[in-house]
Symmetry: C2
Amino acid sequence: MDPFPTSPPDQTPEEEIAREVGLWRPFTQAVRDLVDASVLTAVDEDEIRAAQAEIEQIVSRLRKEQLSETLGMTHRPNGRRRPWGNPVIGVRNPIAPPLVVRTEATGRAESDFHCGAAYEGPPGLVHGGVVSLLLDQMLGQAVGAGGRPGMTGTLTIVYRTGTPLGDLRCEAWIERHDEVKTWAKGHIIGPDGVTAEAEGVFILPRWVRERMAAAAAGEDVPPVPGLRIFE
Amino acid sequence: MDPFPTSPPDQTPEEEIAREVGLWRPFTQAVRDLVDASVLTAVDEDEIRAAQAEIEQIVSRLRKEQLSETLGMTHRPNGRRRPWGNPVIGVRNPIAPPLVVRTEATGRAESDFHCGAAYEGPPGLVHGGVVSLLLDQMLGQAVGAGGRPGMTGTLTIVYRTGTPLGDLRCEAWIERHDEVKTWAKGHIIGPDGVTAEAEGVFILPRWVRERMAAAAAGEDVPPVPGLRIFE
């Protein structure tokens, strides 16, 4: 959650973005299904080897033309953020479960999602590090939604009990903030209640702090959509 | 890092395990390459749709026979642990970079690894939650290697600076322990030094604590390989 002001604004029309999502979402879901099938399959070795050869073929075709920079580098700052490569929410990232996040401008984020076999740590449970991955993202979403985006400064996870694989819910919200830091909390909820709690400190990116300093010095700082600090 | 005593010991001979690794490692690497190609490809839409259709075909073939339980549930406790589904180190998990971990019985773990575009959070940087995922695993490896396995109780990450995508190193070690808890620390090192630090508290699993209580009560508790507590 760190909009960078150096990228040019994304001028892509809504319909074009919707069309691109319509292309990438099912493709990425197919790769995600392949990841899941990979950790669960019990077919015989010949079938595994045949699948491998076909996958290698597909990879070499997909690699014929590649982006000159990562998806994150083409990240758009101005109300049109497209974090498609994000490993938690990215519509183009097969590693992402993906979480579909609902946010509120009060600084709140929530998501109902599913964690399958590829996210397993202890038997039948979500890997503790995956729990922290999801919570870091969700706390970041909450502070971003609240108009106080930032890089994670510190993150603390308290594991109350194992988080079972399956359908889960994550909630995050802003607790408080000072000029530069925002404190957020969140938790993951399984079928039997809260399994893990998080607290994070997020630090406003330097370009935001520079604009704040410029505004304080009386300079005319134009508002940035979604960034309530200058409103 | 939580060996469960309920699974039967893995009787598979070494050569058979090596053969299975020889099958799964290149297959999983092909899927991992596909994940990477998915977030980086710039081929045209027809090619994406064609690849999707072929991937869906492969998935349905792999799903014809599936394991009756997740890989974690078939996890082996007795010195023959096979965490093949683990999302950080699993030889059968395409989500895992994967980390190849060297451990020392003093309670130390280290790994040199690569994080590509699929792990990106802020532009050009590893997602902060991925940083915590890797550190959680590595701290768990350190306490396990030190003969004090455990479930993560709390995990705190301090982000010193962004962790650049690319070649990285992670180190973790046991700091101290009391009867039930083990404190571990670790960090990730990029080309310019430490980027993030972690501290975690790991709690001995219940079955270990029960054996400890039994031993304290004078019962004859047989040693468990790799678990130095009863030696």
